[in-house]
C-alpha cells in the first residue's frame, strides 16, 4: 500500500483514529476524553477478571474494526466485561494481526481477535505460516452478502445476460472489485465456475477500495462490479447502478434482485465476521469465552447494534461453526486454485 496509502478508503465509526497512512492509533471513547481533560490520573480504571483485549487485525473503519469496536461497546454496556480494549494491527488481509495474536497471546483467556472470511483467502494467497488452526474460533457473529451490479446505462438487464456475455467471451466482461483473491474475486470465480466458464479466464480488475471500484463502475470503465451489497446500496436506490443478483441463500429483505441460486447458479457466499480466542486454552477457558460471547449475541445491545449497522445476524457457534469454517476453508482453497491464485 505504499504510495497509495493516502488513497485508501476507509469508513469510520465515530470513535476511531487513523494515521494518514491508514494505520490505527487508538480509539477515543468520548468519556475517556473528558476524563482525561479533567485529570490525567482519573483515567485509571479498576481491573476486572474478565477484561478482554480485542485485536482488530485491520485499519480502522473496515468491517473488522467496526465489529471489534461494537463488541467492545456491547460487552461493556451489558456488564459482561468491565474494561475492554481494542488494539488494531493492520496489514495483509489480517495475516499480520493473526500471526502476532497467535504468538503473543498463547494461553491468554482474555484475548480475543476479530476475523472473517477475507482472512481465509488471505492466509492462502499470502502463504501465511499462521492459519485459523492456530487460534480458537469461537463464533460467527454477522455477515454480508455479495452483490453484482452494472451501470444504469449498461445494456445488460439481468444476471442471465451477463453470464451469457461471459460465456461468449470471458475476457470481454471486466469485473471491478476489491483486492485480488478477496471475497469479491472469489465470488466472480464461483459464478464463472457455476456457469461452466473456466475461472482462470475471468477478467477481474482489482481496486484498492470501495470508492475507487465504485467510481470505475459508475464511469462505465468496466462491464460489471462486485462488492458487498452495502457498498452499492445508496447508488442502487438512486438508480445509478442496476442490481443484478445477490449471493445470499434466500431473497434479502427489501432488495429487489434474485439470488444467484434462484437464477440457477449454485453460489452462496457470505462474507462473515467472527470472533476467535487465543490458542492453547483449556476446555473450561474456551467454554467461559463461549458463554460470554453467547450472552453478548443474545443481548439487546448487540441486537440493536446489528440493526443500526444493518448487519445480518448470522450467529453460529460451537461445532456447527467449526464445521462451517472447515467447509469454507476447503471451498475457498479449491476456488483460489481454480482461479490460479494458489498453487
Amino acid at each position: 500500500m505504499a504510495g497509495i496509502a493516502a488513497h485508501r478508503v476507509m469508513l469510520l465509526s465515530q470513535n476511531q483514529i487513523i494515521a494518514s497512512n491508514g494505520r490505527v492509533l487508538e480509539d477515543i471513547p468520548l468519556k475517556h476524553f473528558i476524563l482525561a481533560s479533567l485529570v490525567a490520573g482519573a483515567l485509571a480504571l479498576p481491573a476486572h477478571a474478565a477484561d478482554y483485549t480485542i485485536m482488530a487485525p485491520a485499519a480502522p473503519g473496515g468491517g473488522w474494526d467496526q465489529t471489534a469496536r461494537s463488541l467492545q461497546t456491547a460487552l461493556q454496556e451489558e456488564g459482561i466485561s468491565g474494561n475492554v480494549q481494542v488494539v488494531n494491527v493492520p496489514g495483509a488481509g489480517g495475516t499480520i494481526g493473526i500471526a502476532q495474536f497467535a504468538s503473543q497471546q498463547k494461553g491468554n483467556p482474555n484475548a480475543l481477535i476479530v476475523g472473517g472470511y477475507v482472512m481465509v483467502g488471505a492466509i492462502l494467497t499470502n502463504q501465511s505460516p499462521v492459519t485459523l488452526k492456530d487460534v480458537t474460533p469461537i463464533a460467527r457473529l454477522t455477515g454480508e452478502y455479495e452483490a453484482i451490479v452494472v451501470p444504469a446505462s449498461s445494456e445488460i438487464q439481468s444476471i442471465d445476460q451477463l453470464v451469457e456475455a461471459l460465456k461468449k467471451d470471458p475476457g470481454a466482461v471486466s469485473w471491478a472489485g476489491g483486492s485480488a483473491g478477496g471475497t469479491d474475486h472469489i465470488a466472480v470465480g464461483l459464478l464463472a465456475k457455476a456457469a461452466g466458464v473456466d475461472p482462470t479466464k475471468i477478467n477481474y480488475i482489482a481496486y484498492s477500495g470501495g470508492g475507487e471500484a465504485l467510481a470505475a463502475i459508475l464511469g462505465s470503465q468496466v462491464t460489471a462490479g462486485v462488492s458487498s451489497y452495502g457498498e452499492f446500496e445508496a447508488q442502487v436506490k438512486a438508480g445509478t447502478l442496476r442490481l443484478l443478483a445477490v449471493s445470499s441463500e434466500e431473497r434479502m429483505e427489501g432488495v429487489d434482485a434474485p439470488t444467484l441460486k434462484e437464477a440457477g447458479y449454485d453460489v452462496v457466499l457470505q462474507n462473515w465476521r467472527m470472533v476467535a480466542a487465543a490458542p492453547g486454552l483449556s476446555d473450561e477457558q474456551k467454554a467461559a469465552v463461549l458463554a460470554d460471547i453467547e450472552k453478548l449475541a443474545k443481548s439487546p445491545t448487540w441486537q440493536e447494534t446489528l440493526k443500526t449497522k444493518n448487519w445480518a445476524d448470522t450467529y453460529l457457534a460451537g461445532d456447527a461453526f467449526d464445521a462451517q469454517l472447515a467447509k469454507d476453508i476447503s471451498a475457498t482453497e479449491t476456488i483460489l486454485k481454480d482461479i490460479g491464485l494458489v498453487k
Binding site: L12, Q14, I18, L25, G91, I96, A99, N203, A206, G211
Partner: protein, 505 residues
C-alpha cells in the same frame, strides 16, 4: 431556495461570534497537531474529531472545518522552516520554501503559503459549491487509461524537480520506484520483494520514507558539517512580510495552482501530491527567474501550496456528490459527517441542502480564520530558526519520531526510519536530490496499476491507451513537456528564456 440563498444562510449562521470562536479554536488545534511530521490532515482530523462531539451541530461542523484546514496548513510550516515535510503533499513546498527560509526569507515563504492557501481554498470552495455536479461527471470519465496518461504527464513534468544532474535525478527516481514495488501486488495478490518480512507486505509508507529522508537525513547531514555549517541559517533578512515583487510573482502562481489542484483533487484516484508536482513543474517552466529555482523561488512555494489546498476542496466533490471517499482524509471526514446526520451519496444535495451548505459555509469561514491566525504568527515561527542548533535539531528529531511512533508504535517502523534516514544522508553527501525518491514511491504504483488495469480491460490491446480523447490529449501534453525543453536546450535555453521574458515585459 437557490444555491446562493443556502450559502448565504450558512454564512450568516457561521458568522455568529460564538461560531467564529469555534472556528478559531479549530484552526489553532488543527495547526498545532498538523505541524508534527508524519501526522497529516487525515490523522489530525481523526485525533481531534472527538473534541467536536460536545458542541451543537453548527458549532461542531465549523470547528471540524477549522481542524481540517488547520491540519492541512500545519504541514507547510515545518516544511518551509525545517525542511521536514510530514506528508506527501507538502514535499514540494519544502523544495523552494526551505531554501527561502535559509536565505532569511522564511517570512515571505510562510506568507505566500498562507495567503495562497487562503486564495486557493476560497476559489476551490466556491467551485465546489457551484460546479460540483458538473465536475464529478468529468471526474468519473477518468478510467485507468486516462489516469495512466496523467501519471506519465506527472513523471515527465516532475523531472524539473530533479536538480542539475540528469544521472543523479534519474537514479533517485528509480531508487524510489524500486522501493515502490515492495509488498503485495494489488492486481494479482502476489508478494514482491518482501523477502518473507510480514511488515513489508503492505509496502513502505510514504510518510515514513518522507520523514526519514527529509527530517532525519537533513539532521545527519547538518551534523556532519560540524561547526562549518553554523551560520547557514539566518532567521530574518529583509522584511518578514511579502514585498511588492513577492506579491507580483505569487498571485499568478496561486491561481494556476488552484486551477491544477482542484480538478485533480476531484478525481477519484488523483491525489493531492500529484497536483503539487504538476504545479511546481508549471511554475518552473513559466517563471521569469529560472535561476532562482532550486535556490528559493517564491513561485515554487506559492503554486504547490495553492494546488494542495485546492485539491483538498476538490476531494469533497466526489465525496459530497457521489459519497465516494477517495482519500484517507475524505474517509475520516465521512465519519465526521455521519455524526451530523449527513449520509453522503448521490442524493445528498437534494435531501440535506442545509447541512451541505452549512458545511461549505463553514469551510469558507475556517479558511479565513486560518489566515487570521497564521499571518500574525509568522514573525514568531521564523524565530524558531534562532534556537541554538543542538536544541533545535534535538527537538526536530523528537517531533519527527513522535509522528511515526504515534502512527504505528512498532520497532520495525523506527528501524526503517533510521535506515532511510541514513540513505537520505548518503544521498545528500553525493549530491543526489531527495524529492524524486518520494515521487517515485508515490507515482510508481499508481502508474503501474492503472497501466495494467487499462491493458486488462482492453485484453492487451495497446491502442486502447490512446484512443480516448482525454488520454490522447494528456499524452500529447506530456510529449510536448518532454520535447520542448530539449529544443530549447539545443537552441540555447537561457537565450530563449531571456527573449521570452523580454518580449513579455
Amino acid at each position: 431556495m437557490t444555491t446562493f440563498e443556502f450559502l448565504l444562510q450558512g454564512l450568516l449562521s457561521a458568522m455568529e461570534p460564538i461560531n467564529l470562536l469555534y472556528a478559531l479554536v479549530g484552526v489553532t488545534l488543527g495547526t498545532a497537531v498538523g505541524v508534527l511530521p508524519g501526522i497529516g490532515p487525515a490523522l489530525t482530523v481523526a485525533l481531534l474529531l472527538p473534541v467536536t462531539y460536545r458542541l451543537d451541530p453548527t458549532g461542531s461542523l465549523i470547528m471540524f472545518a477549522g481542524i481540517y484546514y488547520g491540519g492541512m496548513y500545519g504541514g507547510s510550516t515545518t516544511s518551509i522552516l525545517l525542511n521536514t515535510p510530514g506528508e506527501s503533499a507538502s514535499i514540494v513546498t519544502a523544495l523552494e520554501g526551505n531554501k527561502m527560509a535559509r536565505a532569511g526569507r522564511g517570512g515571505p515563504a510562510l506568507a505566500t503559503a498562507a495567503i495562497g492557501s487562503f486564495v486557493a481554498g476560497l476559489i476551490a470552495t466556491l467551485l465546489l459549491a457551484f460546479l460540483a455536479p458538473y465536475v464529478v461527471q468529468l471526474a468519473i470519465k477518468f478510467g485507468p487509461r486516462e489516469y495512466f496518461a496523467l501519471m506519465v504527464l506527472a513523471f515527465v513534468t516532475v523531472s524539473s524537480a530533479f536538480g542539475d544532474s540528469a544521472l543523479r535525478g534519474l537514479t533517485s527516481l528509480f531508487i524510489g520506484l524500486a522501493f515502490s514495488v515492495i509488498g503485495i501486488d494489488q492486481l494479482t495478490g502476489q508478494t514482491r520483494l518482501a523477502f518473507g518480512v510480514p511488515d513489508l507486505l503492505d509496502g513502505i509508507e510514504v510518510t515514513t520514507m518522507a520523514v526519514a529522508m527529509f527530517a532525519i537525513g537533513e539532521t545527519l547531514y547538518i551534523a556532519a558539517q560540524g561547526s562549518r555549517g553554523a551560520d547557514i541559517v539566518e532567521a530574518v533578512k529583509g522584511s518578514v512580510w511579502m514585498s511588492a515583487a513577492d506579491w507580483g510573482r505569487s498571485w499568478k502562481a496561486w491561481l494556476r495552482g488552484t486551477m491544477i489542484g482542484f480538478p485533480i483533487g476531484a478525481m477519484p484516484a488523483g491525489g493531492a501530491e500529484i497536483g503539487t508536482f504538476l504545479s511546481y513543474a508549471t511554475e518552473k517552466r513559466l517563471t521569469k527567474h529560472p535561476e532562482e529555482f532550486g535556490n528559493g523561488a517564491i513561485e515554487g512555494v506559492a503554486g504547490p501550496e495553492a494546488a494542495n489546498n485546492a485539491s483538498a476542496a476538490g476531494t469533497l466533490v466526489p465525496l459530497l456528490t457521489l459519497g465516494l471517499p477517495t482519500t484517507a482524509t475524505a474517509a475520516i471526514m465521512l465519519a465526521g459527517f455521519q455524526q451530523y446526520g449527513l449520509q453522503p451519496g448521490p442524493l445528498l444535495f437534494a435531501t440535506n441542502p442545509q447541512l451541505v451548505w452549512g458545511l461549505i459555509a463553514s469551510l469558507l469561514i475556517a479558511n479565513l480564520m486560518l489566515l487570521v491566525l497564521n499571518l500574525p504568527l509568522i514573525g514568531l515561527w521564523v524565530k524558531l530558526l534562532t534556537i541554538p542548533k543542538p536544541w533545535l535539531y534535538a527537538g526536530i528529531l523528537v517531533f519527527a519520531t513522535l509522528g511515526t511512533i504515534g502512527a504505528n508504535p512498532s520497532v520495525f517502523e523506527l528501524g526503517m526510519l533510521l535506515t532511510f534516514g541514513l540513505l537520505g544522508y548518503a544521498m545528500r553527501v553525493f549530491g543526489y536530490p531527495i524529492a524524486p525518491v518520494i515521487v517515485g514511491l508515490i507515482l510508481g504504483p499508481l502508474a503501474e496499476q492503472q497501466l495494467r488495469r487499462a491493458l486488462a480491460i482492453s485484453q492487451g490491446d495497446v491502442t486502447f491507451l490512446v484512443t480516448s480523447p482525454i488520454a490522447a490529449g494528456l499524452f500529447v501534453v506530456a510529449a510536448l513537456a518532454f520535447i520542448v525543453p530539449l529544443i530549447m536546450r539545443i537552441r540555447g535555453r537561457g537565450q530563449v528564456l531571456t527573449q521570452l521574458a523580454a518580449s513579455e515585459d
